[in-house]
């Protein structure tokens, strides 16, 4: 299972810039980069109108399921999933081994145009991910601030 590289603030800034550029050119409303396990890595644009945590989880699941379907019917290349809506449409593109690019855009906007710009942005994001991977392949995480003494009851049952 591939692992996401350690990303620092500069990486996120670069990825966000790529996303902002994409939203500007394509007129899409919301752009997210998500981990293939379903986590949000970063998001830009209109981030308040949709439940992006759930959207990311479902995008990752939908992409993985459709990829499996494509494989079942003999497809060897697979790179995107498109959901056409009445109000908003959704495009999910492969970025690299680790992550996906998801875009929410008004249904009136042509998916062809969105995809045209999104492919470029996905390549740009993949280059940043690759650079992050090469910069620190064995980067450790600093979890020293985590207080394990408090972790025995992380989730508390609400009392009536």
């Amino acid at each position: 299972m591939p692992t996401l590289p350690q990303l620092i603030e500069d990486d996120i800034r670069e990825i966000n810039n790529a996303l902002y550029g994409l939203l500007l050119k394509s007129e899409a409303g919301t752009g997210l980069v998500i981990d293939k396990g379903g986590f949000v890595i970063t998001r830009v644009g209109d981030v308040d109108s949709f439940d992006l945590t759930t959207l990311a989880a479902l995008c990752a699941a939908s992409y993985a399921a459709t990829e499996s379907l494509a494989s079942l019917v003999g497809e060897t290349t697979f790179s995107s999933v498109y959901q056409q809506g009445d109000r908003h449409s959704l495009l999910v593109l492969n970025v690299d081994r680790f992550c996906l690019l998801a875009l929410v855009f008004k249904a009136s906007i042509s998916v062809g145009a969105v995809k045209y710009f999104a492919v470029d942005a996905a390549r740009q994001i993949a280059r940043h991910m690759e650079a992050a991977q090469q910069r620190s392949p064995d980067q450790g995480f600093d979890l020293s601030e985590l207080n394990l003494a408090d972790a025995s009851e992380v989730f508390r049952k609400r009392t009536a």
Partner: protein
Amino acid sequence: MAIINQASKELQVKIVYYGPAMGGKTTNLVKVHDHVQTAQGNKGKLVSLATSSDRTLFFDFLPIEAVAIKGFKTKFQLYTVPGQVIYNTTRQLVLRGVDGIVFVADSQYEKMEENVKSFQNLEENLRALNLNLADIPYVLQYNKRDLPNAAPMEYLEFLLNNRDVQVPSFSASASRCEGVFETLNMITRLLLHKFINESQRKVA
């Protein structure tokens, strides 16, 4: 795998509830969703991709933020898998990027074979993803203890927790919300210990 964002001090973790069909995986998530004490806005919506008869088709998903961890905003994503045998490919998909597993066994005597097969299936599916159960924190939950035909705990332990390293196990009656939070807190604890140990090992 978990995502740790140093910039925003945020930790995201994926926990999958695995086990035989009708064992109570979805009930666990429903009870966590109904009873968890969170600050306003920290509990996400429970998403169920289920059939018309409420059987899990793809997964259930509950994003939830922990209340008690200092320093890091910790977001947990709880998933269930469909238990029925025909959905094996779906189970593999949900297991992608898993950090911790709760195996929900059905305590009823007649479900023992299904429990064992489901556990074997978990190991097979992890292997297909180049993962090893021994490397992933997991706990066992023996659910449906309230039913009259529940097998003794020792029997379940013998069947499912009879390995070189025994893992924590809990008796539960998920429909009554008994044992649900104990199980969740233990897998959380194991996960956090693992992350810290890995962190220290890499630094050393």
